[in-house]
């Protein structure tokens, strides 16, 4: 197994995983593409030494490359391709809803954040009428959100269980 191939797998994996840890979905998509390449190269490296293209009667059998990992790689490439498209569609939808493609904090994280804030300010717990208040921390232009909402059918409060954040 060639050291270059192994190094390529390692490099692709490292950059891929680094990108996946980002908050923006478009970076995550790129990260998964790199990771997909890494797996394909890993499969090829697993197939043993390089050789002639594995077609019958083109070369002596012991000079042919191993065809099985190539078949596996092809399947993996097709799947990765489809999933990249799906991720892009997801990013597009997030952009329609939120105006950006950032992955949001999950429910527990937001609850904890809200509780910490209450404890810091020493307030008694009170119902949080607008969950957007703690949902997003960065600068947020309501006018832009509204114009976005008009474009698409957005159901603001369709999440089960968000309302008990106050309890």
């Amino acid at each position: 197994m060639s050291v270059v191939l192994v190094a390529a797998v390692a490099g692709l994996c490292i950059s891929g995983i680094y990108l996946i840890t980002a908050r923006s979905l478009s970076r995550i998509v790129l990260g998964f593409s790199l990771l997909g390449h890494a797996t394909v190269v890993a499969l090829l490296a697993a197939g043993g030494p390089a050789g002639q293209s594995p077609l019958a009667d083109q070369a002596p059998a012991d000079e042919l490359a191993n065809p099985l990992p190539q078949a596996l790689s092809l399947t993996a490439i097709v799947i990765a391709f489809g999933l990249t498209l799906f991720l892009l569609a997801l990013a597009r939808r997030q952009q329609q809803i939120e105006g950006d493609d950032l992955v949001e904090a999950d429910l527990e994280e937001r609850r904890l954040r809200a509780r910490n804030r209450r404890q810091e300010s020493g307030d008694r717990p009170k119902p949080i009428s607008d969950r957007r208040r703690f949902n997003r921390r960065r600068g947020d232009d309501p006018a832009r959100r509204d114009s976005q909402s008009n474009l698409t059918v957005v159901e603001a409060d369709d999440e089960p269980g968000t309302t008990e954040a106050s309890s």
């Binding site: 197994m1 797998v9 994996c13 891929g16 996946i20 979905l25 995550i28 998964f32 990771l35 997909g36 890494a38 797996t39 890993a42 499969l43 490296a45 697993a46 197939g47 099985l68 990992p69 596996l72 399947t75 993996a76 799947i79 489809g82 999933l83 799906f86 991720l87 997801l90 939808r93 997030q94 809803i97 992955v103 949001e104 999950d106 429910l107 527990e108 698409t152 957005v154 159901e155 603001a156 369709d158 999440e159 089960p160 269980g161 968000t162 309302t163 008990e164 309890s167």
Partner: protein, 501 residues
């Protein structure tokens, strides 16, 4: 019989294509979806009967040598779990049929056909005999689950769907790299040949492969500490979709974990797996106690219950595996039916938030009964199926002398009961809250037909409850089957001879 095995995979996928093509013809699509699922369930049941009498059936697709080609292996374990799984999907689709034209339904033009794709993927995952086809089956299941989870494009769904997709995609990439490792080490991806070759590898390589696939399948199965995606994403989807996910998806992970780790004899991983099992049980149930929404409580319980199955597997004894198989058979219908009841509560009260619902027992006593039976089963009270399954796992743990994990399992049982009581108190007892009909009444101009249809959801749930009771009623027979499956699982030679001939 060989054709029947292939048909279990090809049938649902072909029907999915047909159902996609139906466009606006709702009734034809419903007919295709329901009849395919019914036929697949019947076929799988028949195959189970045949395999039980005549032994494992192996199909070499395209008559290729097992070293190169795909093999499908229909053994007792696969068919037992598959039959339960298919019957569960069928019941959920009947429920979905009852929910047509209501505010809670999934988009039927997508959900029905995609459920068939998922069914085909589940069949393939259970029946396949090689690692790469297993990867493809996982992708089939996951891709349809990604779309099912996010197809309505609502805010919460997109938010949690992103995490779900990203984590599962990452696990799939790890899976593929793992396949490359295994191929580099053993020169094949056929599981029967791997069972021959992996024990000959240096023990460090064996450990590496075992741990790697523990992480891969553990992410799909949501074992600690790889479970965080589950409780956040499942509750956001419509009931019918969550119910299938809850009953099936993680269990496919558990199934493959059991299959792979027994076949390759990774019993050296026992301490790691027992620790993971204990932590999974405990963290799941404690997470459930902190929740205040019926669907979220139930989602955390999926995690907790996975721990019991992993515990049964991690013992690597016949008794432990019998328990794990029994637990799978008990858990798939029970969990699904609890989510269906959650859907009925939503239909009746408009929400599944414990603070906003109450007093349903007085208004809908039958619904309360439908919840009480599977809830007690989940907590492991006799005489329900959960008791039998838990007894099997815990008994195996005691026999093995793994005291710590047994204590954890018993403690978690009590906590499970506690959180079921919490749902009971929140939803069925107490003061009745006024439902808010203004927002959530289904928009339809055919109230009467709708009412008749809504009976169907109750009927489907009742069927599923009856199914869980049947598991308890025939526990003796299912125990015997599970034990035979467990013995076959632990003896890799049997599997090897059956597949390689």
């Amino acid at each position: 019989m060989n054709a029947a095995i292939g048909l279990l995979i090809a049938g649902p996928l072909t029907a999915a294509a047909l159902a996609f093509g139906c466009g606006r013809y709702q009734r034809i699509r419903d007919a295709i979806v329901l009849s395919t699922l019914a036929a697949a369930t019947a076929l799988s049941g028949w195959l189970l009967y045949e395999v039980e009498r005549h032994g494992t059936q192996v199909v070499r697709v395209g008559d290729w040598n097992p070293e190169l080609g795909i093999v499908l292996v229909a053994d007792l374990f696969a068919l037992l779990v598959l039959t339960v799984a298919l019957a569960t999907i069928l019941v959920v689709e009947i429920f979905a049929w009852g929910q047509r034209h209501t505010a809670w339904e999934a988009n039927p033009t997508l959900a029905g056909p995609l459920m068939l794709v998922l069914t085909g993927g589940v069949s393939l995952a259970f029946l396949t005999g090689d690692l790469f086809t297993l990867f493809v089956a996982f992708e089939l299941i996951l891709v349809s689950s990604y779309v099912l989870l996010t197809h309505q494009g609502r805010r919460g769904q997109i938010r949690s769907g992103m995490t779900y997709v990203a984590i599962n995609l990452f696990a799939s990439s790890l899976f593929l790299v793992g396949v490359a490792f295994v191929y580099a080490a053993a020169g094949t991806v056929n599981m029967a040949l791997l069972a021959e070759r992996i024990p000959l590898l240096p023990s460090s390589v064996q450990w590496g492969i075992g741990l790697w696939f523990l992480v891969v399948f553990g992410t799909k199965a949501a074992i600690f500490p790889l479970f965080s995606w589950l409780p956040d994403s499942y509750p956001t989807a419509p009931t019918t979709i969550t119910a299938v996910f809850a009953g099936l998806l993680t269990k496919v992970g558990v199934y493959t974990l059991i299959r792979f780790h027994t076949l390759m004899d990774f019993s050296a991983l026992k301490p790691v797996m027992l620790a993971a099992a204990g932590a999974t049980m405990l963290v799941g149930v404690v997470g459930a106690l902190a929740q205040n929404d019926m669907k979220r409580i139930l989602s955390f319980h999926i995690v907790s219950q996975i721990g019991y199955m992993v515990m049964g597997l991690a013992l690597f004894t016949t008794a432990g595996l019998t328990g794990a198989v029994l637990f799978l058979v008990h858990h798939i219908p029970t969990k699904t039916v609890l989510f269906l009841v959650g859907g009925l509560v939503e239909q009746t009260a408009g929400t599944s938030d414990l603070d906003k619902v109450g007093g349903l027992a007085a208004r809908k006593p039958f619904l309360a009964l439908l919840f009480a039976i599977p809830a007690m089963s989940l907590a492991g009270l006799p005489p329900f199926s959960g008791f039998v399954a838990k007894l099997a796992v815990i008994d195996a743990g005691i026999a093995d002398g793994s005291a710590a994990v047994v204590v954890v399992a018993l403690l978690v049982s009590i906590l499970t009961l506690l959180s079921m009581v919490k749902i009971w108190l929140g939803v069925f007892w107490g003061a009745e809250h006024q439902p808010e009909p203004a927002e959530n009444t289904p928009a339809s101009d055919q109230p009467e037909r709708l009412y008749r249809r809504r009976h169907l959801t109750v009927i489907a749930t009742t069927m599923a409850v009856a199914g869980t009771l049947a598991v308890a009623f025939y526990a003796g027979g299912i125990w015997d089957l599970s034990e035979r499956a467990a013995i076959a699982l632990l003896d890799a030679d049997v599997y090897r001879q059956e597949v390689l001939g």
